[in-house]
């Protein structure tokens, strides 16, 4: 297997130039798909036979909940890379993605509460799914807080990598909480491996908004990483050249 791409990721300069090419494109394509999915879902998809229009929150709730988990999984992998290979970009990645993931987890909790009130009859209940997602949100907060609280950058990077890696244990708990325990939250609707439990005209807009949100978040994370790389590599020659070439 060819590992050149993996070793290239070790070079902040190579990453910066690669991200300049792709980040903007990802953000705009993602935004377009997201817009199509959300407008389609909110305005044109048929209403649910039981919940009526309130089910439409699925077009926001499910994509952000998926993103919240995926971001943390990616941070966990980056944490592993940071601890074993001590690659420069891994802590940059964790620091940049943590904020994106925290926002996603927060929107997931908020949209879930807004949907829960008319559907279940309550904003919040301490069932396994809701609680484990709250823990995920707090883990994100912890990562952000540690990164900002410690002055020693090397030490902060290491601490954050450990928290990211250990927090991954929470992800299977979130995923299987609805199967292992009795919960108020229903099992997953959006599955890629099995036949989805909703008809095509409801499922397709969900696919669009989920895909769009993934691309959009990837682009935003890359922008954030670029900024962080510039900050950390401010003494390197290539950064000076990069800044000079922009005419500053």
């Amino acid at each position: 297997m060819n590992w050149t791409w993996f070793h290239k990721l070790g070079s902040p300069k190579w990453f910066y130039q690669w991200a300049s090419k792709w980040a903007g494109k990802l953000v705009w394509i993602g935004l377009l798909l997201l817009l199509i999915g959300v407008v389609w879902g909110l305005a044109f998809a048929p209403a649910d036979y039981q919940q009526g229009n309130s089910f439409r929150i699925i077009y926001i709730h499910v994509p952000v909940a998926m993103l919240a988990q995926s971001c943390y999984l990616a941070m966990g992998i980056a944490g592993f890379v940071a601890l074993v290979w001590q690659m420069k970009l891994a802590p940059v990645f964790i620091k940049s993605v943590a904020v994106v993931g925290a926002v996603m987890a927060f929107i997931a909790l908020l949209s879930g509460a807004i949907w829960g009130k008319p559907t279940w009859g309550t904003w919040w209940v301490w069932d396994a799914r809701l609680t484990s997602v709250l823990v995920l949100f707090l883990l994100y907060m912890g990562v952000i807080a540690i990164q900002n609280a410690l002055d020693d950058q090397v030490f902060a990077d290491k601490a954050v990598a450990v928290v990211s890696l250990v927090g991954v244990i929470n992800l299977p708990i979130i995923k299987y909480s609805v199967e292992w325990w009795n919960t108020l939250h229903q099992p997953a609707t959006f599955r890629l491996t099995e036949k989805p439990s909703m008809p095509m005209e409801m499922w397709l807009p969900l696919l669009f908004s989920a895909l769009g949100l993934y691309l959009f978040s990837a682009g935003i994370a890359m922008w954030r990483m670029q900024t962080e790389v510039l900050k950390r590599e401010r003494k390197a020659n290539w950064v000076k050249q990069e800044v000079m070439s922009d005419g500053i």
Binding site: Y49, Q50, L83, T119, I169, W180, W181, P199
Partner: protein, 147 residues
């Protein structure tokens, strides 16, 4: 692979496995507390305490809902298809409450084994359908029921 990296990898792996095992055991030990509600079978077996606030959940049995015309009192039975539990409640039920729907009720068991509920929540399933599809399904069901 570089021996230092290999050593780090093994250390991290061992720590993760131990931590997962510890958390898994804690979860397993607490599983009764993590469960949001007792099923009718658990209550029939006497696993749920009396005179303590608990939650019970199940499907509302078809034809079991009795409403009082003068008050908001309502009584119904829930089932997990093995045992049934009678629930009495005074108050406004959530919109999704209906026969055949999953619900979770919070309340206390009395001596008769009836749950006196103070809160009833509707539990939604993961199936979504447009109304036309449900109508079509019901029509085909009726059509097949007729000889």
């Amino acid at each position: 692979m570089h021996p230092v990296r290999k050593k780090r990898m093994i250390t991290i792996g061992v720590i993760l496995v131990l931590l997962s095992a510890a958390i898994g055991l804690v979860m397993f030990a607490l599983s009764q507390n993590i469960n949001l509600f007792y099923s009718p079978t658990q209550i029939a077996k006497g696993e749920a305490p009396q005179q303590v606030t608990i939650r019970a959940g199940g499907m509302v049995v078809d034809g079991s809902v009795e409403r009082q015309s003068e008050t908001l009192d309502v009584a119904f039975a829930v089932t997990d298809y093995q045992h049934q539990l009678r629930i009495e409640y005074r108050g406004i039920l959530p919109d999704l409450f209906r026969e055949g729907q999953g619900i979770v009720a919070q309340g206390k068991l009395d001596q008769r084994g009836v749950l006196i509920a103070s809160e009833v929540l509707a539990k939604h399933d993961e199936e979504y359908m447009p109304p036309e599809v449900t109508e079509a399904l019901e029509q085909s069901k009726q059509a097949s029921a007729q000889p």
